[in-house]
C-alpha cells in the first residue's frame, strides 16, 4: 500500500515528463507533509485524493490528471515556497494543491498569486490564508468556523462558565480566541485560560489548574498525535467530576486513535467538527467503506479535505471545459456547491472560502465501539472573519 505511493510517484514523474508529447494533461502539484511530525495527516490527505481519482477516473474534460508530489517535511515555509516555485516554473503545473500546514500554505500563496495559478488548500485552517491569493479556494474548514460556532452553541446550551486550555501555537491560539469570542458574545463567562507548550508531554499540572477553577466546562485544543490521549488520561487522573464539569474540544481530541487510547474515559466528551466517519448519510457510508477497503484505515478530516478538494478541481475543470488558467478555474469555483460525504458544501462566491455544516458531537458507545455521535447541526456556516471582512 505504501510502496504503491512510490510506484505512483514514479509513474507520475514519468507521465509528467512525457506528457508534453502525449495527450493533453492537467498537472496538479501536491505540496504535502509526507514525512516528519505531520506525516500521518499528509498520508491521509493523499489517500483521500487517490480515492477520488480511483472512483471518478483520471480524465476530466478530455484531459488526463497528473500528480507531482512534493514533501515539505513539516512546517517549512521557505521549502514550501521553493517547491511551489519549482512546480510552476519547472514542472509547469496547472494547479497547486495540498497544504496540511498554515505557514506552508501562506508561503505558497505568494507563488499562486504571482504566477496566477489555481490553488486548493485541503487542510490548513487559518482564516487569513484565503486572502493571500485571488486564485485560492479551500476544501477543509477554518478554525473560527468550528470554534466560534462551538462557543456560541455552548453558551446557549446551559454552559455558563468555561475554562480554556489550548496549545501555545497558531491554531491553538486561533481556536482559543474564536471559542472565547463566540462564548462571550452569547453571554458566557470565561473563568480562566491557559496556554500550554506545544511539545508538551504531561498535562497533569494544567488539568489540575483547570479543576481548581471549578468551571461548568473545560474547552481543550491540542494538536493531534499523542496529546489528546495524554490530556484525556490527565483528566481521568485528576478525577474531574464529569457531571459538574463537561469536557469540550475540537475534533482532534476525540479522533479514532485518541478514543482507542482513552477508552471509556472519553464518554461524554462533546466536540465540534466538520466531518466524522460516523456521519449518518448514505454517501458517507459508501465513502468510508471504499476508503477502508482501499487503505485499511478509517478516513478522517484530512482524508475528506483531500477528497473534496479533488471534487472541486474536477467540477471546476468540467465547467471551464478544460481551461486551466487561474482566473477561469477560480471563477468556475465561486458559488460551486455539491453534496460531500460530510454533508452539503459550497464555495462562497465573494470570499472563495468554504461553506459547510458544523456538527456538535458527543462520545457515546455504539455497540462495543466508542464513536462521535452527532446530535446537533449548525447549517451553512461561513468563516466569521471573512463574513465580517466582506461586510
Amino acid at each position: 500500500m505504501r510502496k504503491s505511493i512510490f510506484g505512483v510517484a514514479c509513474v507520475a514523474a514519468l507521465l509528467a515528463t512525457g506528457a508534453a508529447r502525449a495527450e493533453p494533461t492537467v498537472k496538479i502539484g501536491l505540496i504535502i507533509s509526507y514525512s516528519g511530525q505531520f506525516a500521518d495527516a499528509g498520508l491521509q490527505m493523499d489517500d483521500g485524493i487517490k480515492l477520488f481519482v480511483q472512483k471518478h477516473g483520471d480524465t476530466v474534460a478530455g484531459k488526463k490528471i497528473v500528480f507531482i508530489r512534493k514533501d515539505t517535511g513539516g512546517i517549512a515555509p521557505a521549502v514550501a515556497k521553493r517547491l511551489a516555485q519549482e512546480l510552476v516554473v519547472r514542472d509547469k503545473v496547472d494547479v497547486l494543491a495540498g497544504f496540511v500546514l498554515t505557514p506552508n500554505a501562506m508561503a505558497a500563496a505568494d507563488v499562486s498569486a504571482q504566477a496566477k495559478k489555481f490553488m486548493v488548500v485541503m487542510n490548513a485552517a487559518t482564516s487569513v490564508i484565503i486572502t493571500k491569493s485571488p486564485y485560492m479556494t479551500r476544501s477543509s474548514v477554518t478554525t473560527p468556523m468550528l470554534n466560534e460556532t462551538f462557543g456560541t452553541w455552548a453558551a446557549k446550551h446551559g454552559i455558563k462558565t468555561a475554562y480554556t486550555m489550548v496549545s501555545d501555537y497558531g491554531p491553538g491560539i486561533d481556536a482559543e480566541q474564536a471559542f472565547i469570542k463566540g462564548f462571550k458574545d452569547a453571554g458566557g463567562k470565561i473563568v480562566g485560560s491557559v496556554r500550554m507548550p506545544v511539545a508538551n508531554a504531561d498535562f497533569s499540572a494544567f488539568v489540575q489548574r483547570a479543576k481548581d477553577a471549578k468551571p461548568d466546562a473545560i474547552y481543550i485544543f491540542v494538536p493531534g498525535g499523542s496529546q489528546p490521549a495524554a490530556i484525556g488520561k490527565a483528566i481521568v487522573e485528576q478525577n474531574i467530576d464529569r457531571k459538574k464539569t463537561r469536557i469540550l474540544g475540537q475534533d482532534v481530541i476525540t479522533s479514532e486513535g485518541a478514543l482507542k487510547s482513552m477508552g471509556d474515559t472519553a464518554l461524554g466528551v462533546i466536540t465540534v467538527s466538520n466531518y466524522d466517519y460516523n456521519h449518518q448519510s448514505p454517501k458517507n457510508k459508501a465513502f468510508v467503506a471504499a476508503y477502508r477497503k482501499a487503505y485499511h484505515r478509517t478516513p478522517d478530516i484530512f482524508s475528506i479535505g483531500g477528497y473534496d478538494g479533488m471534487r472541486i478541481i474536477y467540477n471546476a475543470l468540467k465547467k471551464t471545459g478544460g481551461k486551466t488558467d487561474g482566473k477561469s478555474l477560480i471563477d468556475a469555483t465561486k458559488g460551486m456547491s455539491f453534496e460531500s460525504p460530510r454533508g452539503p458544501v459550497s464555495i462562497d462566491p465573494k470570499t472563495r472560502d468554504i461553506i459547510e455544516n458544523v456538527y456538535i458531537r458527543r462520545v457515546e458507545k455504539v455497540g462495543t465501539k466508542l464513536k462521535n455521535v452527532e446530535f446537533d447541526t449548525i447549517n451553512h456556516v461561513k468563516d466569521p472573519f471573512a463574513a465580517t471582512a466582506a461586510k
Binding site: 507548550p197 489540575q208 495524554a230 488520561k233 481521568v236 487522573e237 487510547s261
Partner: protein, 287 residues
C-alpha cells in the same frame, strides 16, 4: 496550595523517573567508552513498538511485554554494536555523531514504514488506570507504577555496580579505561554488556513511555534532546547523577507548567544552562 505542591512534585518525579530510564544507559556508556550514541532514542522507540505489537497483535498483557521490550532493545544493541559501532570507537566524536544520526534517520523511516505514522495505541490494564486520593490531592496510579519500577531498577543498578564483580569491572572501566585493561579486565566485553543493559533499559523506558507521553515514528528524534539534557546535567558515567538530573528535570518541567505556563519550555533550558554553568561536569560527573 500545599495540595498542589504535592501534586506537582509527584507528577514531576514520575515524569523524571521515565526520563531516568530513558537516559541512564546513555550516561553510563558515554562515560565509559566516550562513544557518542545519538541513536539511543531509537532503542527506546524499538522497545515501545515491540510492546505495542505484542499487545495489539498477539494480545499479550501489558506487564508481560515489558521484559520483552527490554530484551529486544538489548539484543538489537548487541547486533548493532558488533556489526557497526565496534569499528568506530577510535573515530572522532563528530564521525560518531554523524553515524548515529544516520541510524536515527533510518530507524525513523523504518518505523514509519513498518508501523505506520499514526500514534501507537495501547490499552494498559484497568488496575493501572485511574487515580487515588490522599487528602485533597488526586494521584495517578500509572505514575505510581512508573515510580516503583524506576526506583526498583535504580536500586538494582546501584546494587549491580557496588556489590558485584561485574559492577566493579564497570566502575574500573569508567574511571580509567587503560588502567582497567592493564589489570586484565576485558573492557570490550564489559562495554558490550553495559551497552546492552543501557539500551535494554531504554527499550523498557520506551514501552513504559507510551501510556504517559505517547509513541510514534518520530520518537527516536523527539526525545533525544531530553536524554541529552539529563545526561549532561547528571554527569557522565553516573547513575546517581542521571537519577538526580532526571528527577530535577521532571519536577521543574511540571512546576513550570503549573505555575508559569506562559514560559513554555523556557524554564527547562534555563535550569539546565544554570546548572551547567555552575557545575560544567554535571551534578555528579567526574570528567
Amino acid at each position: 496550595m500545599l495540595g498542589s505542591i504535592a501534586g506537582v512534585l509527584y507528577d514531576g518525579f514520575a515524569y523524571g523517573m521515565l526520563l531516568f530510564l530513558l537516559s541512564v544507559g546513555l550516561s553510563v556508556t558515554l562515560g565509559m567508552m566516550n562513544f557518542v550514541n545519538l541513536a539511543h532514542g531509537a532503542f527506546a522507540m524499538l522497545g515501545g513498538y515491540v510492546a505495542v505489537t505484542l499487545m495489539n497483535r498477539l494480545d499479550w498483557p501489558f506487564l508481560a511485554t515489558l521484559p520483552v521490550a527490554f530484551l529486544a532493545a538489548a539484543a538489537a544493541s548487541i547486533v548493532l554494536e558488533r556489526v557497526l559501532y565496534r569499528r568506530f570507537y577510535k573515530a572522532s566524536d563528530l564521525d560518531q555523531c554523524l553515524l548515529t544520526i544516520g541510524i536515527v534517520f533510518v530507524s525513523i523511516a523504518s518505523a514509519a514504514y513498518v508501523f505506520g505514522t499514526e500514534q501507537a495505541v495501547v490499552r494498559t490494564p484497568a488496575w493501572l488506570q485511574g487515580s487515588f486520593v490522599v487528602g485533597e490531592q488526586t494521584f495517578g496510579v500509572y505514575r505510581l507504577f512508573l515510580i516503583v519500577v524506576a526506583l526498583a531498577l535504580a536500586a538494582g543498578l546501584v546494587g549491580l555496580l557496588e556489590f558485584t564483580r561485574f559492577g566493579a569491572k564497570v566502575r574500573a572501566a569508567v574511571d580509567n579505561q587503560r588502567m582497567a585493561r592493564g589489570l586484565g579486565i576485558d573492557v570490550d566485553r564489559v562495554f558490550a554488556l553495559t551497552f546492552a543493559l543501557g539500551c535494554g533499559l531504554a527499550g523498557l523506558g520506551g514501552a513504559l513511555a507510551i501510556e504517559l507521553v505517547g509513541l510514534n515514528h518520530t520518537f527516536a528524534f523527539s526525545y533525544l534532546i531530553y536524554v541529552l539534557i539529563v545526561v549532561s546535567v547528571g554527569g557522565l558515567g553516573s547513575i546517581g547523577g542521571s537519577f538526580a538530573a532526571a528527577a530535577l528535570l521532571g519536577v521543574s518541567t511540571v512546576a513550570g507548567e503549573y505555575w508559569a505556563p506562559q514560559t513554555g519550555s523556557f524554564l527547562i533550558y534555563f535550569v539546565m544552562v544554570a546548572i551547567l554553568m555552575w557545575r560544567p561536569l554535571g551534578l555528579f560527573g567526574k570528567r
